[in-house]
C-alpha cells in the first residue's frame, strides 16, 4: 500500500453534555489508501457517525475534537485554519449523508446543489459547471439529467436523491469519499444499485471510500477492510472476509452472527448477545464489552485491553484473543423443529382484498387520482403459523396489515378470522374482535405515548376491554407481562423515553400480548433496531409463540429477517402477492423473477448480484398484465397479459407466465 490518503491517529471527540463529558470517539485510529474502501461498522451510539463527522470537522458544540490527528495526504485536518478547511472540504474530501431527504436543500434546484461547490472552489465557471453537473448526474445514473438538474429534491424518489447526494460528493473528483449510512433509508433493490455505483467510483477513479454502516452485509459487499467500533473504540480491524468468518473480538462475533443471513438456518433462534452498551457517562475501567461478553476472563474487568495484532494484518482489542486464539464458531441453534403441517382450520383467511386510496383533487374539475395500494390479495394464516410478507416500500404490505387487522376497511374482498367474517364488521362487533387480533408497529418511539407510564400503557387495553376492573387489579397482570417480555416488572412506573429502542419494542409486544391474542400482525417490528437488538426481539417473538401458540403475520422488507423468522413467506409487488411458498422452499427455489432479483439484491459478502434497473412503478396507475414486466429482465411479449397463478410445488404458488426463467447468479 502506498502512503495512505487518510491516516487517523488517536482521534478523540468529546460531547460536553450537562451530565458530564461523553467520549463518543475515544482514541480511534485507522488508515485508508488510494482506491481502498474501508468499512466502519457498529451499532447506534458506537461512535461511527461521530468519527465520520470529526474527520471533516463538521460537528457543532457541545461536541469537540480533543485529541489525535486526521492526516489527509500528510496534512493535519484538525490544525487547518478556517480558510484552509473550507478549501479542502468538498474538494479533497467529500461526504455523503444517510438521509437524502433532509440532506438536500428543499428550496434550491438540484443543479445548483450539485455544482455550487465546483464554482466556489474555482474549478469551473458557471457555464462549464452546468455541463459538468448534468454529466455528473448522468454518470450517477439519474434518469433524464437535464430535467433533473432543473428540478427540486422533493420531485425525486429516495434512490434518485441518494444518487444526487453521491453526485454532490463526487463533483470535484475528491480523493476521499466518506459515506455515512448511504443506503440505510433505501429498499434492497435500490440499495444494490447505490452500492454498485460506489463500487464503480472506487474502481474507475481510485477514490478512497470510508463507508459507515450498521449493516455488515453492506460493508461486506464492497469493503476491503473493516473497522468494528464499540462504545467509542475500535475493537477490531482487519480484512473483511477474515473478520466476518473468524471474528476475533466478541462484539464483532456477535455482529457477524446475530445478523440473519440468507444462508443461515430457517426459522431458528439467532445467537444474539444480551445486554446493552455501557453508559457513556460511566465507562467501565476494563474492557467495555466485558459485561456482555460470554467469554470474559477475570483480567477483563480490571485492565483495559489494548488494540493489538492478533494475526497478520488483523487487530483486536480483547484479552481472550490477544494471544492469537480464536473465538468458538457460532453455537448450535437451540430449536430446530421443522414446521408441523397443520390440518386444522386456518385462523385467518383473506380473499381478493382490494384497497384504493383516492388522493385529494388537485384542481376543482380535475380527475381524482387513486393510489392502488392493495389489488386483490389472498392469503391464509394457520393457528401458530408465522407468515412473512416481504416487499419494497410502496408494495402495499403495510396497507395489507391494516386491512387484516381492520384498521382499514377493504374496498372489496372478504376476511375470515376464526370462521367469522370480519371484512365489514362495525362498532361493537369490531371492538369485540380487537383483543384477538393485535398489532405491533415499526417505530417503537412513535407507537408509545410519551406522556403515559409504561404501566398505564399496558393497563389501558386491559381496562378498555374489561379484563381488569381497576388499575390496581391490572397491576399484577402488568408485572407478569413485563416479565414475559424480559423486562423488570418494577419498570412499570417509568416513561417510554427511559427505555432503549429494543426495550420499547418489548413494551409494544407486551401491550399486544395483554389481551391474549391469537394472531399478532407485526409491521416491520425490528427494522428500526440495531442488529444485536433485532436478534433479541426476534428471539423473544419466537419464544412467545412456543409458549402461547401465537400466530404471526410478519411484515418486513428485510428478506434475511423474514427467512430467519417465518414458516411461510409471501412476496408482494405493487399490491399483489407474486409468490408464496414455505420459507425453505422460497429461498432455495425462488421462481418469480422479482423474488429472484430481490434475493440477489441482498448485500452479502462474496456474492454476485442481479441489479434491477429502475424503480417500482407508480401506484397511481394499475398496470396492465404483469405488474413487474417493466423491470423484469426476462419479460416476454406474453407478459402484457395478466399472469396466471401457478402452483409449481406443494404450497408454492407463483404469479408469472414463466416461473423459474430467471436464475439467481449464485
Amino acid at each position: 500500500m502506498s502512503a495512505p490518503v487518510l491516516d487517523v491517529r488517536g482521534l478523540v471527540t468529546v460531547f460536553h453534555t450537562d451530565a458530564g463529558p461523553v467520549r463518543a470517539v475515544d482514541g480511534v485510529s485507522f488508515a485508508v489508501g488510494k482506491g481502498e474502501t474501508l468499512g466502519i461498522v457498529g451499532e447506534s451510539g458506537s461512535g461511527k457517525s461521530v468519527t465520520a463527522q470529526s474527520l471533516m470537522r463538521l460537528l457543532d458544540p457541545p461536541a469537540r475534537i480533543e485529541g489525535g490527528e486526521v492526516l489527509f495526504e500528510g496534512r493535519d485536518v484538525l490544525t487547518m485554519s478556517r480558510r484552509q478547511l473550507t478549501a479542502w472540504r468538498g474538494a479533497g474530501a467529500a461526504m455523503v449523508f444517510q438521509d437524502s431527504l433532509t440532506g438536500l436543500n428543499p428550496v434550491i434546484r438540484i443543479l445548483r446543489q450539485v455544482t455550487e461547490h465546483v464554482v466556489a472552489h474555482g474549478r469551473m465557471d458557471r457555464r462549464a459547471a452546468r455541463r459538468h453537473g448534468i454529466d455528473l448526474l448522468r454518470r450517477m445514473g439519474v434518469a433524464s439529467p437535464e430535467r433533473a438538474a432543473a428540478s427540486y429534491p422533493h420531485q425525486f424518489s429516495g434512490g434518485m436523491r441518494q444518487r444526487v447526494m453521491i453526485g454532490i460528493g463526487m463533483a470535484n473528483d475528491p480523493k476521499l469519499l466518506i459515506a455515512d449510512e448511504p443506503t440505510t433509508a433505501l429498499d434492497v433493490t435500490i440499495q444494490a444499485q447505490i452500492l454498485d455505483l460506489l463500487g464503480n467510483l472506487n474502481e474507475k477513479f481510485g477514490t478512497a471510500i470510508v463507508l459507515i454502516s450498521h449493516d455488515l452485509g453492506v460493508i461486506g459487499t464492497i469493503c476491503q477492510r473493516i473497522v468494528v467500533m464499540y462504545a467509542g473504540e475500535v475493537v477490531e480491524e482487519g480484512p473483511t472476509a477474515a473478520v466476518l468468518e473468524d471474528p476475533r473480538h466478541p462484539y464483532a462475533w456477535a455482529l457477524a452472527n446475530a445478523v440473519p443471513r440468507l444462508d443461515s438456518p430457517v426459522a431458528e433462534r439467532l445467537p444474539g448477545i444480551e445486554g446493552a452498551p455501557p453508559d457513556p457517562l460511566a465507562m467501565p475501567a476494563g474492557c467495555r464489552f466485558m459485561p456482555r461478553c460470554p467469554w470474559r476472563l477475570s483480567r477483563c474487568g480490571a485492565e483495559r485491553p489494548p488494540l493489538v495484532e492478533v494475526a497478520p494484518g488483523r487487530l483486536a482489542r480483547c484479552w481472550v484473543t490477544a494471544d492469537g486464539r480464536r473465538l468458538p464458531p457460532r453455537t448450535e441453534p437451540l430449536h430446530a423443529k421443522p414446521p408441523q403441517p397443520s390440518t386444522r382450520e386456518p385462523l385467518l383467511v383473506a380473499r381478493d382484498l382490494v384497497k384504493h386510496f383516492p388522493l385529494p383533487k388537485k384542481t376543482f374539475f380535475g380527475t381524482r387520482e387513486v393510489v392502488h395500494a392493495v389489488n386483490g390479495v389472498s392469503l391464509h394464516v394457520m393457528p401458530g403459523e408465522r407468515l412473512g410478507i416481504v416487499g419494497e416500500s410502496g408494495c402495499g404490505k403495510s396497507t395489507l396489515a391494516r386491512l387484516v387487522t381492520r384498521l382499514h376497511r377493504p374496498d372489496a374482498g372478504d376476511i375470515r378470522f376464526d370462521g367469522q367474517d370480519i371484512a365489514t364488521l362495525n362498532g361493537e362487533a369490531l371492538r369485540r374482535l380487537r383483543p384477538r387480533l393485535q398489532m405491533v408497529f415499526q417505530d417503537p418511539y412513535a407507537s408509545l405515548n410519551p406522556r403515559m407510564r409504561v404501566g398505564d400503557i399496558l393497563a389501558e387495553p386491559l381496562l378498555v376491554h374489561g379484563r381488569a376492573a381497576s388499575p390496581a387489579e391490572a397491576a399484577g397482570r402488568i408485572a407478569s407481562l413485563l416479565e414475559l417480555v424480559g423486562l423488570n416488572p418494577a419498570w412499570a412506573a417509568r416513561f417510554p423515553h427511559e427505555f432503549s429502542g429494543g426495550q420499547r419494542q418489548r413494551i409494544s409486544i407486551a401491550r399486544a400480548l395483554a389481551l391474549e391474542p391469537s394472531l399478532i400482525v407485526a409491521d416491520e417490528p425490528v427494522s428500526a433496531l440495531d442488529v444485536n437488538v433485532q436478534a433479541q426481539v426476534l428471539n423473544l417473538m419466537l419464544d412467545l409463540r412456543e409458549r402461547m401458540g401465537l400466530a404471526y403475520l410478519f411484515i418486513a422488507h428485510d428478506l434475511a429477517v423474514v427467512r430467519a423468522f417465518c414458516d411461510r413467506v409471501a412476496v408482494m409487488y405493487l399490491g399483489r402477492i407474486v409468490e408464496e411458498a414455505p420459507a425453505r422452499e422460497l429461498f432455495a427455489h425462488p421462481a418469480h423473477p422479482y423474488t429472484v432479483s430481490l434475493l440477489s439484491a441482498v448485500p452479502e459478502p462474496g456474492r454476485q448480484r442481479i441489479v434491477l434497473g429502475g424503480e417500482p412503478p407508480s401506484t397511481l396507475r394499475l398496470p396492465q398484465g404483469c405488474a413487474f414486466r417493466a423491470r423484469c429482465p426476462v419479460a416476454q411479449r406474453v407478459c402484457a397479459e395478466p399472469p396466471p397463478l401457478t402452483e409449481i410445488a406443494p404450497g408454492h404458488r407463483v404469479l408469472c407466465h414463466a416461473p423459474g426463467s430467471l436464475k439467481g447468479a449464485a
Partner: protein, 336 residues
C-alpha cells in the same frame, strides 16, 4: 402561476363579501342603540324624533333590505354616509387611511430590516452578546405595553433630549403637501419639497418605533428560532461538507428555508399594524384609521364601521395573497 393568482383573487373577493355579510349581521345584533348614542337622552325620549331619525338613516327597514342597499352602494363605490361625521364614509377613509398606511409601512419595514438580520445574527452567534441583545429586544418589544413605550420615547427623545419632534404628522406651523395622495413622504418627495419631507420623516420616527416594537420582537424571535432549526439541518451540514463559505451556508442555504415562517408572521403582522394602531395614533395625535375606527365604534356609526370592516378585510386578504405568493417563490414544494 397566473392561474393560481386568478383563483386566489376570485376567492378573495368572495371572502370579502362573506366577511361583510357576517359583520353586517353581527353589528346589528350587538346591544347598543345608535339612536341613543347620536341623539342623547333628551331627544331619544321623544318617540317622534326617534322614528324620524331612524327613517332618515334607513334604520326602520328590514335587515335584508338594508344589507341589499349596502351591497348595491358598494357596487357603485358608495359606502354610505357616516352618521357621526355626515360625510361619505369613503371620503373619510380616503382621508384617514394614508396616514395609517404610511405609519404601518414604515414600522413594518423597520421591523423587517432590523428584525431579520438581528435574528440571523443571534442564531449564528448563539449565546453571544448579539444573541443577548436579540433576546432582550424580542422580550421587550413583545411585552412592553404600547402606551408605556410611547410615553417613554416621547419623554426621552422629545421632552428631554429634544431630538425628535412632538406628536402630529407635521410641525403645527407647516403646511401639509397639497392635492397629493395623502402619503406625506411620497407627496413631498414627488414635489421635491425636501424641507417638508424631512419634517414628515422626523415626525414618523417615534410613532413608527413604538408601533414596530411588538412586530420587531416577534420577527426577531421567529427568525432566530427558524434559523437555529435550519442551521442544524442536514443540508446545512452538507453545504459545509462541500466547502461552501459560512456566509453562503447561512444566507443561501439556511436563511431561505428559515424565511418561510417569517413570511407568515410578517403578513399577519402587517395587517395588524394597519388595523391595530389605535393606541399609537391616539398618543401621537396621528390622524389615521385607528382613531377613526375608535370614534366610529364609540358612536355606533354603522356605515362607517361597515366601511372600515370592508377595507380591513380586503387588506387582510390582499396581504394573505401576497404571503401565499411569496411562499410559492420561497418554497418550490408549495407550487403545483
Amino acid at each position: 402561476m397566473l392561474r393560481y393568482v386568478a383563483i386566489r383573487l376570485v376567492s378573495a373577493v368572495v371572502m370579502a363579501l362573506l366577511a361583510s355579510g357576517v359583520i353586517f349581521l353581527i353589528s346589528n345584533f350587538v346591544p347598543g342603540d345608535p339612536v341613543l348614542a347620536q341623539l342623547g337622552d333628551i331627544l331619544a325620549s321623544d318617540p317622534a324624533v326617534v322614528a324620524q331619525w331612524r327613517a332618515k338613516w334607513g334604520l326602520d327597514l328590514p335587515l335584508w333590505d338594508r344589507y341589499w342597499i349596502f351591497l348595491n352602494g358598494l357596487l357603485h363605490g358608495d359606502l354610505g354616509i357616516s352618521i357621526a361625521t355626515r360625510r361619505p364614509v369613503l371620503e373619510d377613509i380616503v382621508q384617514y387611511a394614508p396616514a395609517t398606511i404610511e405609519l404601518a409601512t414604515v414600522s413594518f419595514l423597520l421591523a423587517l430590516v432590523i428584525g431579520i438580520p438581528l435574528g440571523v445574527a443571534a442564531a449564528v452567534w448563539r449565546d453571544s452578546a448579539v444573541d443577548a441583545v436579540a433576546r432582550a429586544v424580542s422580550l421587550l418589544g413583545v411585552s412592553a405595553p404600547t402606551f408605556w413605550l410611547a410615553f417613554i420615547v416621547l419623554a426621552i427623545f422629545y421632552g428631554w433630549l429634544g431630538w425628535a419632534p412632538g406628536p402630529g404628522r407635521l410641525d403645527p406651523i407647516a403646511f401639509p403637501p397639497e392635492g397629493g395622495t395623502g402619503f406625506f413622504l411620497w407627496d413631498t418627495a414627488m414635489a421635491g419639497d425636501w424641507e417638508t419631507f424631512q419634517d414628515a420623516a422626523a415626525h414618523l420616527v417615534l410613532p413608527a418605533i413604538v408601533l414596530a416594537a411588538a412586530t420587531l420582537g416577534l420577527i426577531t424571535r421567529t427568525t432566530r428560532a427558524a434559523m437555529l432549526e435550519c442551521l442544524h439541518q442536514d443540508y446545512v451540514r452538507v453545504a459545509r461538507a462541500k466547502g461552501m463559505k459560512e456566509r453562503v451556508v447561512v444566507l443561501h442555504h439556511a436563511l431561505r428555508n428559515a424565511l418561510v415562517p417569517v413570511v407568515t408572521l410578517g403578513g399577519l403582522a402587517y395587517a395588524n399594524l394597519l388595523t391595530g394602531a389605535v393606541m399609537t395614533e391616539t398618543i401621537f395625535a396621528w390622524p389615521g384609521l385607528g382613531r377613526y375606527t375608535f370614534r366610529s365604534a364609540a358612536a355606533l356609526d354603522f356605515p362607517a364601521i361597515m366601511g372600515i370592516t370592508l377595507v380591513v378585510s380586503a387588506t387582510y386578504l390582499l396581504v394573505n395573497l401576497l404571503v401565499d405568493l411569496s411562499y410559492a417563490m420561497l418554497d418550490p414544494r408549495v407550487r403545483r
